[in-house]
């Protein structure tokens, strides 16, 4: 009833091509943004630090993978490693040039990750599908090995882990153990909003259309004049850029330190599940998938206690694994296009409600 676009006329091309053509969507987005900026005011450390910051970082990585797998149709299992490249690049840069603003290094480390991603994307011209997935596995294992063995990357620390130094921005501590959760939350939020906006513009523009053309049928795309190698490499580079920034944010603004094991193959799979469940080829899907995959285990851990059941921590973890596995299968059967598609269907139903058509 509320969600109906009757009376909203489009009088120029700009409004016709708007990403959110319906007024209610724009209001909804504004409300979400306001709420997002107001969350730290609740002063709930668990909410900001343990739920929202990781959630937003995972969204960023999921958007990155979605640009590659969902929009360009190139399956990658190296997401974790590309995130690691971003994290280690940021760490090295800020150790060598400690006076430069850390946020600049977060962005620059994305470019390092993009370069590495483009190199490992080179085989994508000749191979695709499973074969490409295995080629990206080579990236995953080789880079992970580098994180362990190349001690220059972690400044020859004996522990083999990286520890985030304290850095300030306009006098406010933003990284390191003394940074407050609110500061870190706002920085991640601003990164997320800006990069979602850029991604949205990318996929709605010429570049995104050429990616989707390659995904839908590469031979036809080539006949239409899309050059495959630059397009695929650009997809790899942009995707790795997003993953690299997400990795740098993850270490600098969430963990505060990291071992190579953070960027292992399971991290890649987690991000992949997010976009499968959320919806391939949808930015909203990255949000919904990250919410489900990241927040569901937390809920599963705390829900039994809330109703008075005491479940062993290990048992809860096993049940989480089983639930995630079952959910993946369930979603693939029920709606292969993911949660984003469910949302679309729901909106369409609302628009014509109470009539079925």
């Amino acid at each position: 009833m509320l969600y109906r676009e009757a009376g909203q006329f489009k009088t120029d091309y700009a409004s016709d091509q708007a990403i959110f053509p319906i007024l209610q969507d724009r209001i909804g987005l504004a409300v979400i943004l306001v709420v997002a900026f107001a969350i730290p005011l609740a002063n709930n450390d668990f909410l900001t630090n343990a739920m929202m910051i990781p959630f937003m970082i995972f969204v960023l990585a999921a958007i990155g993978l979605n640009l590659l797998t969902g929009y360009t149709g190139l399956l990658s299992l190296g997401t974790g490693a590309f995130m690691g490249v971003g994290a280690y690049a940021c760490y090295k840069l800020t150790s060598i040039f400690p006076n430069v603003n850390i946020l600049i290094w977060v962005v620059v480390s994305g470019f390092f990750s993009a370069a590495v991603g483009a190199v490992f994307g080179l085989p994508s011209l000749r191979i695709k599908g499973f074969y490409l997935a295995i080629a990206t596995l080579a990236a995953q294992f080789f880079l992970e090995w580098c994180f362990i063995r190349v001690s220059w990357l972690y400044n020859y620390n004996i522990s083999g882990a990286i520890e985030v130094p304290q850095r300030t921005l306009f006098g406010i501590i933003v990284t390191g153990p003394r940074a407050t959760a609110e500061t870190r939350y706002y920085i991640v939020l601003i990164f997320l909003v800006a990069m979602t906006w850029i991604a949205s513009n990318l996929v709605h523009g010429r570049i995104g259309r050429s990616w989707m053309a390659v995904r839908d049928m590469d031979i036809a795309a080539e006949l239409m004049g899309i050059r495959l190698l630059p397009t695929k490499l650009l997809a790899f580079a942009v995707s790795s850029f997003y993953c690299g920034v997400a990795g740098a944010l993850m270490v600098f603004l969430w963990y505060g330190g990291a071992e190579p094991a953070v960027f292992n193959i399971n991290q890649s799979f987690t991000i992949l599940f997010m976009i499968i469940i959320g919806g391939l080829g949808s930015l909203l899907g990255a949000y919904l998938g990250a919410a489900l995959i990241y927040i569901l285990p937390i809920v599963l851990r705390f829900a039994p206690e809330a109703v008075g059941l005491h479940v062993h921590a290990a048992t809860a973890e096993h049940v989480t694994f089983m639930t995630v596995g079952a959910l993946i299968i369930f979603f693939l059967i029920a709606e292969p296009a993911g949660l984003a598609r469910l949302w679309q269907v729901g909106k369409q139903k609302l628009r014509v409600w109470p009539f079925p058509y």
């Binding site: 499973f130 074969y131 080579a138 090995w145 992949l272 694994f321 596995g325 693939l332 059967i333």
Partner: protein
């Protein structure tokens, strides 16, 4: 110059000077390669018959081994009855997967089915840990009449030590592969399997039941997984760390071709031997631990020149 010497000359000098070490490394590589080949074989069986790239093969190995050990240790079932029961469990698993996952997903794109096997993997990890616990367990080799100890040969100016267990594994694996080859080429079900592999529609139109074939082929892959699990578990412990070896089977598949049984075996042996030799003679130059990525890099290089693998069917499409 010194670096080039270390890469191109020194390892071969070492090989020539100590042929017994070379033989030992080769043997270790062959044994590891055989286990990779067995996992790859499970992949190939399923891929040929249903076009599903079964990511869950690795966890099926772990699950089969865990079921066997769990029945024997926790419930004190005699080893051979536990083996029979495990075979039963693998059949139930194949049946359940066909019912719950494959049948509703018929006609979906390959990538969706691939993702579904991720779901199976996660479910089995959670389920296995829930039932059997996450601790490493010991495979009851003695109760299964698997030999222990080693045979030592004094040849090549030194000595070469072969584990009896590895020899037994090689013999049993060869018998199993031969059995599968006979099953595929001589029996009625085997021919039906190959028909399904060639074309689902054509197979359906001559009255072959796809559902039945899929259960059989997943069951066969489950049996291969059980044999793999027994031998891998006997060499180390039975734990979820075994899962990683499934990822090692992927480059083997690339090397051998996705649809070729001999390819899986030859590919497995090449990867196993190559990985061990590289780590032993060149690994120190790179700081060690090269076996984590060597197989994948070989596969990557190989993909550039021969995307269909050594024995795979040629992919005509070139984009």
């Amino acid at each position: 110059m010194h670096f080039l010497y270390l890469i191109f000359i020194d390892p071969f000098v070492q090989m020539a000077q100590a042929p017994d070490l070379l033989a030992q490394t080769l043997w270790e590589g062959l044994v590891a390669g055989m286990l990779y080949a067995l996992i790859a074989l499970g992949f190939v069986l399923i891929f040929k018959a249903s076009g599903v790239f079964n990511f869950a093969q690795g966890i099926m190995v772990v699950f089969a081994a865990l079921t066997l050990v769990g029945l024997h240790h926790d419930l004190h079932v005699p080893a051979f009855i536990a083996l029979a029961l495990t075979i039963g469990v693998m059949f139930v698993l194949a049946f359940a997967i066909e019912r719950a996952v494959l049948r509703p997903l018929v006609n979906q794109p390959d990538i969706i089915l691939f993702m579904a096997t991720f779901g199976i993997t996660y479910f089995l990890i959670g389920f296995g840990e829930y039932i059997f616990g996450g601790d490493p367990k010991v495979m009851p080799t003695g109760d299964l009449y698997l030999p222990n100890g080693a045979v030592t040969y004094h040849t090549l100016g030194g000595m070469v030590q072969l584990q009896k267990l590895d020899i037994a594994a090689a013999v049993i694996a060869s018998i199993m592969v031969a059995g599968l080859a006979v099953f595929f080429s001589k029996t009625r079900i085997g021919r039906a399997l190959r028909a399904v592999a060639d074309s689902h529609e054509a197979a359906l139109s001559v009255g072959i039941s796809l559902e039945q074939i899929w259960v059989i082929v997943w069951f066969a892959a489950g049996l291969v997984a059980l044999v793999t699990g027994i031998f891998w578990g006997a060499r180390s412990d039975v734990s979820f760390a075994l899962e990683v070896i499934a990822l090692k089977a992927l480059p083997v598949l690339i090397l051998g071709g996705l649809t070729s049984v001999p390819g899986a075996i030859v590919g497995g042996l090449i990867i196993g031997v190559g990985e061990k030799l590289f780590e032993f003679y060149w690994g120190s130059l790179f700081g060690g631990g090269t076996d984590a990525w060597f197989a994948y890099v070989i596969a990557l290089v190989f993909l550039m020149f021969r995307p269909q693998g050594l024995f795979g069917e040629r992919i005509i499409e070139r984009v």
